[in-house]
Symmetry: C2
Subunit: 472 residues, 2 copies
C-alpha cells in the first residue's frame, strides 16, 4: 500500500507544524517524483522484547500500534524480531501448536522490503456472538427471548501513511458489525427487505461507524493514516464479502474463479470522484479541475482544442482550453500510478481524516468513501469440496499474482495434502505469500520468472468452503 | 411510456397559469392515483389530409410535431388515418415499394390503445455523411485533405408528456452526432485515447447538446415533454448502442442473447438520485427526503426505529425516525410504478426541462440525466449469419416480451423466409410488434396466453448484422 500514498505522512495534521505555504499558480500542485514520495526507510532494529498485539508491554500508543501483529500469530519475542526484519522477510503463520483458526483457515503474511518502517497490514479472525437487541417497541425483552446468533469473521486491513487506522480497524470493526447485527432481532419479514439485505446494511453501516469513530478519536489515540478493509462475514449459510479499497477476494471452486470483490481506485472510481468535484467545486479549492485530460496542459495552449473527459462520459471529446483547465486534474495517472489530487491511489477505506493534498491544506477525505461493496455468496447452493477456497489478499499479493496464478497454486498445493489435513490451508497461504514475495536475487526480491516480486506488505487468508471446518 | 409520467402535462410551465398552491405538510406530495394520472383521451379524429414528417403541410408546430410519423413510412393520408386509430391499432411498416431502409432494416410500429392522443414514439434511420473538420491548429484544410466518412444511424425515441421532444430528437440528434464526429479528423493516436473512445465521447456529447438545444428552444418551438432515446451508430466496423431511458437493445446471435443496453429507472438509478439529493439538498425543496424507507412513515411513528436505505447502501438498516424522515421519499415505488419525486418513471432521456413535481414548482430535471450509456460491439470479431440481428424496441415491446421470447420470435420468423429475402426483417419487426400488442378481446388487447398486451406505443427496429446488407 505504501506506493499508494505519496508523502502523505509528512502532511498529516498530527505531524505538527503548519503546512508550508504553496504557490497558487495553476501549475501546482505537482505530484512529487516517486523518489521523494515514499522514501525507503532503513528498517529500524526491532526492540529487544516485544509481545504480540494485546500481549505487548505498555508502550506509547504509536509504538504499540506500529509493532503489533495479529494475536493469532502468537509471536514470541524472537518471532516478532523475524517478523519485522525487512531484510529476511520471513513468512509468518499461526503456529501448528495451539488453537487452530476457525474452519482451519490458513493465514500467512510478510513484511515489506523496507518501503515503510512497519508492516502496515493487519488481520483479524474471530467468532463473534451477537446478543439480540430489545424489541422494536422499546419494551425490554424477557431474558428468555434473547436469542443470540454467531457469525464468523475474517478481516484484512492494509494501512497507509501509518499503521494506526489498520490496527484500530482490526481491533474494532467486527464489534461495530456485531452492534449493527443486533438489529436483526427486530426484523420481521417485509416486502423487498430480505434478511440478506439487512446483513448487508449492517456491514455497510458498521464501516461508516468505524470511520466515524476514527474521526472522533484520531487526536487522542493518534490514529494515523488510513486503511483498506476487506472483510468476510459468514452468517446463516451465506458468505458476505465487503471490500473498501484495493485488496481482493476470489473464490476458487473446482478450479473456477469467482471474483468476490472489485478494487476501488482513482481509475475505477473516476466518475464518482469527478461528479463530486463537479457538484461541490469548493472541495477542489480552486486548485484542481474535475475534468480529465490525456496529459497536463501548458498555459501556452490556451484557446486550442484538447481532448477531455467529463464526469458523465466514458469516451473522450474535444473542447477549447480555458483558464480553469490549466488547474491540476482531480484524477490523474494510470494504473498503479493513478492518484486523487496527486496524493492517494485508493478511493475507499477507513481513516485518512487528516490527509491533505501535498503542500496544501486541502482535505482529501471528502473524496474517499468508507462504504464497502458487499457481495453475497450462498454456501448452501453448491456442494463444496475440501479444495474449494475463498482467498483474501492485500494488494501486495495481487500486484504480482493474477487470479489464474492463484487458482493454479490452490490446485498445486492442496493436491499435495490429504483432503482432511487441516494444515493444507496454512501451507497454501504461505505458498501464495512466498510466490508474491519471491527470493532475494539481483538487487531485489525476484520471482522465478525474474520479474520483481512485491516489495509491499503481503497478507493472505485462505478460507476453506467445504473442508473439515464445521460451519455451525 | 405514458404510464411513466403522471399528469406531467398538466404541470408543464407552458400550460400557462401558476401552479396551484400546495400544503407544506409532510404528508404531501401524494402520488395521484393511476386513474387520475394519465386519463385515457378520446382519439382525436385524424385530419382529412396530412403528409408524413417533413412532407406535412404547414400547420402549427404543435400539430406537426404530434402527428408526424417517420418519413420512411411514406404514409398516405389513408395510411396516416389508420396509423393514428387507437381502436384498430394497425401495425405500420415501410411499404414494399420504394427505397428500402439501409441494411434491409426491418421496422414496425403501432399506436397506443388510447392512453395518449398521439403516438409519442418516433424513429429515424439514416446514412449520415461527416465532413472532416479543419485541422487542430485551426489552419484551413485543403479541399483535397477533406476526407469524410459515413455512419449508419438508427434511433428510437419514446416520448412522454407530449410528442415534441421525441419528434425533435428524431429530427436532429443524428446531426449533433455528425457535428461531434467531425472531431475524429483531429485525432492522432494518443495513449489510452482510442478511436472507439472518441466515437463514444462524440455520441455522449451529442446527447448533451441535443438536450441543451431543447432547453433553449422549448419556448419558441413548444418542445413538449421529454423522451427516452435509444440510438445505434455503425462506424468503421463497430456498432455503438447508446441508451438513455427504458428502451432496450439486444443482439440475437446464433440464438444467443447479448444485452446491448440497460434501463435507467428510479430503481436502477436509486443511488445516483439519492446521492444528488444528499449533496444538493436544495433540490429537494424541503419537501422530499433522499432516504428510502420500505413504506411511508406516519407522524405518530416519530422516534421509533425504522428500516431505511441511504445513498451509499445496497442493504437496509434501522434508524430512529426524525422529523425530516416524514417527508416524501425522493425515490418511491417498485417496478414499473417506481417514481422520482412521485412523478416520473424514467431517469435518463432528453427534454423534460419544464417538468415539475405534481402540484409544486419544484423542478425534476436536475435529477434526470441526458447522458446515455454506450456499449460497443465489434462486428468484425464474429462471422455473422443472416439470422443474426440487433433488435431495438421501446418499452411497449419489453413490458410484455422477454428477451427469450424475442429470440424465439427471431428464430421462428426468419426461418420461414429465404436467408436472402430482404423483407424478412420487416416481417420480424411486425411479428414482434403484433406479439406485444395482441388482439382485441375480453375488454382489452390480449396476448395468446390471455395476459394483457401492451397498451403503450410500440416501435421496433430489426437490424440484420450479417444479412444481405452491405456495410461499406
Amino acid at each position: 500500500m505504501l506506493n499508494r500514498v505519496r508523502s502523505a505522512v509528512a502532511h498529516l495534521v498530527s505531524s505538527g507544524g503548519a503546512p508550508p505555504p504553496r504557490p497558487k499558480s495553476p501549475d501546482l500542485p505537482n505530484a512529487p517524483s516517486p523518489q521523494t514520495a515514499a522514501p525507503p526507510e532503513a528498517p529500524r532494529s526491532p526492540p529487544a522484547t516485544a509481545g504480540s498485539g494485546s500481549a505487548a508491554p505498555a508502550k506509547t500508543v504509536e509504538a504499540r500500534a506500529s509493532f503489533s501483529r495479529p494475536t493469532f500469530l502468537q509471536l514470541s519475542p524472537g518471532g516478532l524480531r523475524r517478523a519485522v526484519d525487512h531484510a529476511g522477510r520471513a513468512v509468518q503463520s499461526p503456529p501448528d501448536t495451539g488453537r487452530r483458526l476457525p474452519w482451519s483457515t490458513g493465514y500467512a503474511e510478510v513484511i515489506n522490503a523496507g518501503k515503510s518502517r512497519h508492516n502496515e497490514d493487519q488481520a483479524c479472525c474471530e467468532v463473534v456472538y451477537v446478543e439480540g437487541r430489545r424489541s422494536v417497541s422499546g419494551a425490554p425483552r424477557e431474558p428468555s427471548q434473547g436469542q443470540g446468533l454467531c457469525f464468523y469473521y475474517w478481516g484484512l486491513f492494509d494501512g497507509h501513511a501509518g499503521g494506526g487506522a489498520a490496527e484500530m480497524a482490526a481491533r474494532l470493526l467486527h464489534r461495530h458489525i456485531r452492534e449493527q447485527l443486533k438489529d436483526l432481532s427486530c426484523w420481521s419479514s417485509q416486502k423487498e427487505v430480505t434478511h440478506e439485505s439487512l446483513v448487508v446494511g449492517a456491514i455497510e453501516n458498521a464501516f461508516q461507524f468505524m470511520d466515524e469513530q476514527m474521526a472522533r478519536e484520531r487526536r487522542g489515540h493518534q490514529v494515523e493514516g488510513g486503511c483498506c478493509a476487506l472483510v468476510v462475514v459468514y452468517l446463516l449459510g451465506k458468505v458476505y464479502v465487503a471490500n473498501a479499497g484495493d485488496s481482493r477476494a476470489i473464490i476458487v471452486r473446482n478450479g473456477e474463479i469467482i471474483p468476490m470483490s472489485r478494487e476501488f481506485t482513482p481509475e475505477t472510481e473516476r466518475q464518482r470522484l469527478q461528479l463530486l468535484g463537479f457538484l461541490k467545486p469548493e472541495l477542489l479549492g480552486g486548485e484542481f479541475t474535475h475534468l480529465e485530460f490525456p496529459r497536463r496542459i501548458q498555459p501556452k495552449e490556451l484557446g486550442q482544442r484538447m481532448l477531455y473527459r467529463d464526469q458523465n462520459m466514458t469516451g473522450w471529446a474535444y473542447k477549447k482550453i480555458e483558464l480553469e483547465d490549466l488547474r491540476f486534474p482531480l484524477v490523474c495517472g494510470e494504473g498503479k500510478k493513478a492518484r486523487v489530487m496527486a496524493t492517494i491511489g485508493v478511493t475507499r477505506g477507513l481513516g485518512d481524516h487528516n490527509l491533505k493534498v501535498c503542500s496544501s491544506t486541502l482535505p482529501i477525505k471528502p473524496f474517499l468513501s468508507c462504504f464497502p461493496e458487499v457481495r453475497v455468496y450462498d454456501l448452501t447452493q453448491y456442494e463444496h469440496c475440501p479444495d474449494d477456497v475463498l482467498v483474501l489478499g492485500t494488494d501486495g499479493l495481487w500486484d504480482v499474482t493474477s487470479d489464474c496464478e492463484v487458482a493454479a497454486t490452490v490446485d498445486r498445493v492442496l493436491s499435495a495434502y490429504e483432503p482432511n489435513d487441516p494444515s493444507r490451508y496454512k501451507a497454501l497461504a504461505q505458498a501464495l505469500v512466498l510466490g508474491a514475495r519471491g527470493t532475494p536475487r539481483d538487487r531485489g526480491w525476484r520471482l522465478p520468472n525474474n520479474k520483481l516480486g512485491s516489495g509491499d506488505d503481503i497478507s493472505v487468508f485462505v478460507i476453506p468452503l467445504g473442508g473439515p471446518g464445521s460451519y455451525s
